[in-house]
């Protein structure tokens, strides 16, 4: 038993210990520089999308990888792959499949056993995946019904390639980076310091904040309220899924299902 056999030393590590500040500073500087260059016309406006993905999602993914002890080169590879995927996606809908690159990179790191600290590369029960699918689908269904009854939006079936591109983006950038950081890293660390409720509140609040400040989110009040409502629920559910299953996979599945359904909505 741990309490009898192991020497106890109070924790000295801070919550944000191990954050790759240099890399984050470089990404931020790069983003600011890119915006300036776009403003003066040196770079085309679509390059903002590339730098936004690399800086935003790259920062989250790199921080998550750093917190679990992945080496600096591997983190840089992840950021570069995200930038490449974003650049490829800008070339056309099929280019979005380049988002598989960061996904494959994370899968490879998981297979090497370097992401167990995030809950990846550990055994996962099929039952937890089924529950995750049901949770994501249930929340997404509620979103569909509420949105269609409240805002009049409908399921869009005429732009399949755009939906697929969006799903690829979620798979390789949006969901992957958010779940790795907010659940695998932040919630994981927080629940070792505080209760589940406290840790889930912190991780979910940060998760919701990340989307609220996202420049791509429309600024209509009802949309922001809706986003906050559903993302808070999704964040809380995914915290519970990670805590219950001890794997990040169910959370990834739940978020992917939710965002996949969300991408089908159109005015």
């Amino acid at each position: 038993m741990w309490v009898l056999d192991q020497p106890y030393t109070p924790r000295a590590e801070r919550l944000f210990a191990g954050t790759p500040l240099t890399l984050l500073a470089l990404l931020a500087a790069g983003a600011v520089a890119a915006v300036a260059l776009v403003e003066v016309g040196v770079l085309p406006p679509r390059s903002l999308r590339v730098i936004g993905v690399a800086a935003g999602h790259g920062a989250l993914l790199a921080a998550a990888l750093a917190w679990t002890g992945v080496s600096s080169p591997s983190r840089i590879v992840a950021v570069v792959l995200l930038a490449l995927a974003a650049a490829a996606a800008g070339l056309g809908p099929l280019g979005a499949f380049a988002y598989l690159l960061p996904t494959l990179w994370v899968l490879w790191l998981s297979a090497c056993g370097r992401l167990t600290g995030l809950g990846l590369g550990t055994p996962v029960s099929p039952r937890t995946v089924v529950v995750a699918v049901l949770a994501g689908a249930g929340l997404a269904s509620h979103l569909l019904i509420s949105a269609s009854r409240t805002l009049g939006v409908q399921v869009r079936v005429d732009h399949g390639s755009d939906v697929l591109a969006a799903i690829a983006y979620d798979l390789g950038a949006n969901v992957l980076a958010a779940e790795c950081f907010f659940r695998g890293a932040l919630f994981n660390r927080a629940q070792r310091r505080w209760s589940f409720a406290g840790a889930a509140t912190i991780a979910t609040a940060a998760y919701v904040l990340r989307y609220v400040v996202d420049p791509l989110l429309p600024k209509q009040v009802e949309l922001v309220v809706g986003a906050v409502f559903y993302l808070a629920l999704l964040g809380a559910i995914n915290c519970w899924l990670l805590w219950w299953s001890e794997s990040l996979v169910p959370g990834l599945v739940s978020a992917l299902v939710f965002f996949a359904v969300y991408r089908t909505l159109g005015a």
Partner: protein, 498 residues
């Protein structure tokens, strides 16, 4: 149960949708039933989740109304329903959780009492307590450590490592909580609380659980720890008291047996002593009457006078022994008048008396030359020797020899009286110096009061000496008396009474 609650929520939602009355539908109140059921079955978490489910399901009826017409009366009714569902779910769940926690706590206390009701060692008690608490506390691992004087008794482990959480709590007497005691992804919590009795930490109750270990649960564990400490201490005291009572009863029974035996011995002694006193008295009375009423030849008068003198001496010896015994029983030492005394003449004088009085045994003496002088009461020494030689003669066959000797030891003189008699059984050797004690089959062999050796021992010890008896059945007995030599004699100077 979960399926039933989910089905109930779905049915209510379907009915509300089919009714088409919007957010003010009366059927919305039926949501309270599954929410209450979930709260009563699963507690605060279940109630909150069911309430959230109900709110989510009824939201598509309320939100469009707000979007279309703003905060109308119907919309407000719908929002109030949301609040009521949330409040009912959470509050009922919290109350149910608290009630359940109290019930579990009382069950634990009862379990502790039942477990400690049987008298058992600390090891067994702690193992039983651990087994009783493991299921009720709903934890993954549990250990109970108890202090047994300097020893630690551990139920649920082999050792308490230095610097471990349990070691710290044992040392500080303060509870300690660790929110990350290992675990892969879900953190493992550990909590250790002291078992307190008065001001003392008598042990530690430690638990580990993968997942939550709430503040309320820790408070419960602390209360259980306090109760456990007190119960363990009470059990220990009860056990000690029972052991003490048992020992006391045993001692009382032994003392009673000894008193009964003493009483029997005294009764026997009174009978024997009366007989012993009566015999010389009868002789004195008879011979004195003869001398008074009859005219006898001078030789006969001399013979009768000699018999009377011997019986008078015997009577005097018995009375002296009785007086000494009386002093011994009152915790007093025999009265002595000690002077420097040479051993050899004293032995010869006593042996002479026996030689003159008894022709049945050959009494021999052998004393080392130049024996040191002892500091002794001449009368007491004579009584010691008389008792020992008398016993040797009484309990050895007619015609056998009784040997009396003395030799010098380092700063002392050893006097030995040995016979070739029947000996003393080994199991009686340890008791021959007890007052009134007689070897079981001795009564049929010779007369005696059973106080002679007790008086010998008291007299010798009053001189600062020792007395030892060695015997082999059918071979004989040897009694050795060791008396310390005079300090002056040790240094070569002596002034003695012959």
């Amino acid at each position: 149960m979960i399926s039933l609650i989910a089905a109930a929520l779905a049915v209510v939602t379907t009915l509300v949708a089919l009714e088409g009355a919007g957010p003010s539908s009366l059927l919305r109140h039926v949501y309270l039933l599954p929410v209450l059921a979930a709260a009563l079955r699963f507690g605060a978490g279940g109630g909150a989740l069911a309430a959230m489910g109900a709110v989510l399901l009824s939201a598509p009826f309320v939100l469009p109304e707000i979007e279309r017409s703003g905060l109308t009366t119907e919309a407000v009714e719908g929002l109030v329903t949301f609040a009521v569902l949330g409040l009912v779910g959470v509050m009922s769940g919290v109350l149910r959780t608290r009630a359940g926690r109290h019930r579990r706590r009382y069950e634990i206390l009862v379990a502790i009492q039942r477990t400690l009701a049987d008298e058992a060692t600390l090891d067994v008690s702690l193992a039983r307590l651990r087994a009783a608490l493991a299921g009720r506390l709903r934890v993954d691992e549990i250990a109970i450590v108890g202090r047994d004087d300097e020893r630690l008794v551990i139920a649920g482990g082999d050792r308490v490592a230095e610097g471990s959480l349990v070691a710290r709590v044992l040392e500080s007497g303060e509870p300690a909580f660790v929110d990350d005691a290992g675990g892969s992804v879900r953190a493992r919590r550990a909590f250790a609380t002291p078992l307190v009795s008065g001001e003392q930490t008598v042990g530690v109750l430690a638990v580990e659980r993968k997942g939550e270990l709430s503040l309320a649960e820790r408070a419960t564990l602390q209360a259980v720890g306090a109760h456990l400490g007190l119960a363990l201490e009470n059990a220990r005291l009860v056990s000690r008291q029972r052991r003490f009572a048992s020992e006391l009863a045993e001692r009382v029974a032994t003392a009673r047996r000894e008193l009964e035996e003493l009483d029997r011995a005294k009764s026997a002694f009174v009978a024997i002593a009366s007989h012993e006193l009566r015999t010389p008295l009868t002789a004195l009375q008879g011979f004195s009457e003869i001398l008074a009423v009859r005219r006898l030849p001078p030789e006969e008068v001399t013979r009768l006078a000699e018999v009377m003198r011997r019986e008078a001496r015997r009577l005097g010896r018995i009375v002296s022994d009785l007086l000494d015994l009386s002093r011994i029983e009152r915790g007093l030492e025999p009265a002595l008048c000690r002077v420097p005394l040479k051993i050899e003449p004293a032995i010869e004088a006593t042996v002479d008396i026996f030689r003159q009085g008894s022709a049945t045994h050959l009494v021999t003496t052998e004393c080392e030359p130049s024996l040191p002088v002892v500091d002794a009461d001449p009368d007491a020494l004579e009584r010691v020797l008389t008792n020992l030689i008398s016993n040797a003669i009484k309990y050895s066959p007619t015609g056998s020899a009784v040997h009396v000797g003395a030799r010098a030891l380092d700063g002392a003189v050893a006097i030995e009286v040995a016979d070739a008699g029947r000996g003393i059984p080994a199991d009686a050797l340890g008791r021959v110096f007890e007052p009134y004690y007689r070897v079981p089959d001795a009564a049929g062999v010779a007369r005696g009061t059973g106080i002679g050796l007790a008086v010998v021992k008291a007299l010798v010890e009053a001189h600062g000496g020792t007395v030892r008896v060695e015997s082999a059945p059918a071979l004989g007995t040897r009694v050795t008396v060791v008396l310390p030599a005079c300090a002056a004699a040790i240094h070569g100077r002596s002034r003695s009474v012959p």
